[in-house]
């Protein structure tokens, strides 16, 4: 893949959500570059992930810890396991920069997470910053902006 088509980019973002819904977490993690970040801001329009609070700002090591933890026999908060469900709008391609090898998409979505009898609905916008590594698309940064980012939440255990 020299430069991805719009359709390939859109299909990639939709595929990422499907891997999460199907608990294919290792395949999901492999979509991220080694220096990738997954960011959920705490504030509306937040620009600084480090000196201002965030719900998540995790490198690949921390994401891997989460994925390993979900499998653990003593991960009591996952007995029973949570499940999740993504409903995406068609991802919109905000920028394509073939020279820089960087593609940015914007995807409004609803995310449902369930455990026991509880079912929580979250509304968010996902911004993917993608790049081509070794001929395949990878995620450099996934930013998830919750509509009610500063609200009081219960446990959010999986990935949006």
């Amino acid at each position: 893949m020299t430069s991805p088509t719009d359709k390939e980019i859109i299909d990639f973002v939709i595929h990422e959500a499907r891997l999460l819904d199907q608990h294919r977490f290792e395949e999901w993690l492999a979509l991220y570059t080694d220096d990738a970040y997954y960011w959920m801001p705490l504030e509306w329009g937040q620009t600084d992930p480090k000196l201002v609070g965030s719900l998540m700002y995790e490198d690949k090591l921390l994401l891997q810890i989460r994925v390993e933890r979900l499998k653990g026999n003593r991960t009591f908060s996952q007995k029973p396991k949570s499940r999740c469900h993504h409903v995406l709008q068609t991802p919109q391609i905000d920028s394509r920069d073939d020279a820089k090898n960087e593609y940015v998409t914007w995807t409004p979505m609803h995310y449902v997470e369930t455990r026991h009898d509880d079912q929580q609905l979250y509304a968010a916008w996902a911004t993917h910053t993608l790049t081509v590594v070794g001929g395949v698309l990878k995620i450099k940064l996934k930013r998830v902006d919750l509509v009610n980012c500063e609200a009081a939440f219960g446990n959010i255990q999986l990935f949006m």
């Binding site: 480090k50 998540m56 090591l61 810890i65 908060s77 996952q78 009081a152 219960g154 446990n155």
Partner: protein
Amino acid sequence: MARYRDNVEAVRNLVRPAEVHRDVYIDDEVFQLEMEHLFANTWVYIGHDSQVPNPGDYFGTTIGLQPVLMVRHTDQSVKVLFNRCPHKGTRITTETCGNTGKFFRCPYHAWSFKTDGSLLAIPLKKGYENTGLEQSHAGQGMTPVRHVHNYRGFVFAKINDFGQGFEEFFGESLSSFDNMIDRSPVGKLEVAGLPLRYMHNCNWKMLVENQTDTCHPMVAHESSAGTAVNVWKNAPPGTRKPMAVEIFAPFMSPYEFFENMGIRVWPNGHGHTGVHHSIHSDYSAIPGYFEKMVAAYGEERAKHILGENRHNTVYFPNLMIKGPIQLIRLFKPLAPNKTLVESYTFRLVDAPDVLLERTQMYNRLINAPTSVVGHDDLEMYERAQEGLHVDANQWVNVQRLYDPAEPVDVTAETNGTTEWQMRNQFHAWQKFMTMSM
């Protein structure tokens, strides 16, 4: 049928020397009495004055279930007012924080109040002539919370005249605040952005107890901190230890580590873990920070300040602070089985930004609703909230390292895995619950 209201003896009997009746966690009436007595007779944390830097700035919070406003008055003092129009009860502000200018104006009928709460004006005031408004509660303006104390920027308030003065209530425990503040080379903290807000379906006291429960980390957090340690083991040799692993790994320390770190109890339910060392002791040095501290305080005092590594300090009833990492957690009761946890981070003024970066990382790795460590704890609280409905055993046990001769309301240092601090809290609970009944 009321079982506890107007029955001091029944309330007192909920707490025994080394066990506590389940009704303190699950009973609606006990919860209501906590709101009326415990949260009115004690000094409750309101906010930090850096949240209201300029005259007219306000910040809304609660004491128990009652909404209050912290506001910077025109004379620069910080007032705490009940957030209610004296007329019909309307909440005065709509935003959690903002600037109201020279006065508050009720959005319903435009009654207005100075920032100390006193009545400024009422539209069509003639309609109140000869009605005796001045003598009514409404004519007094917004009611101030009577007792307010600003301790080096941290504002506390007490609703009732019962109970103790600020200094007597906190006493030596203020040393934990001092240490957190002194970690700034200029002795000043600032709230750094919004708090993480985390809703817990459990009783607020479970969270408070957990702050000095040192027998759970290696068990409950095996899933998060233990996994972090294991994943890190597979890193290529020579890789620099990331800040996140420095934060996670000490949670997996053995019982011996926690036994040796020590617990200190103070009168009135306050106390802290980490007398000698703590999970915060072995963080990497931040370049340039120590030098700044030495320049500000001299080497001996700088070493002394940074040598304190208190783990969690509980300020009874519902505040916990972490001096070495500059964050606080406020456990706000909403119902017997519902608690809002707010975790605030602070910038050490004039210290390197990396310190704040670590504070923010700690907060999101440990205290966020998206935090795996938080998931471990909340799962346990919620299981306890359900399990306490078992009628066969109605008592919660806090007997670890109990000595029948154990004194109450004293300052003492002891083994870091004791449940003395929990007993200390329940002694204070019993005292402040019943003193106004």
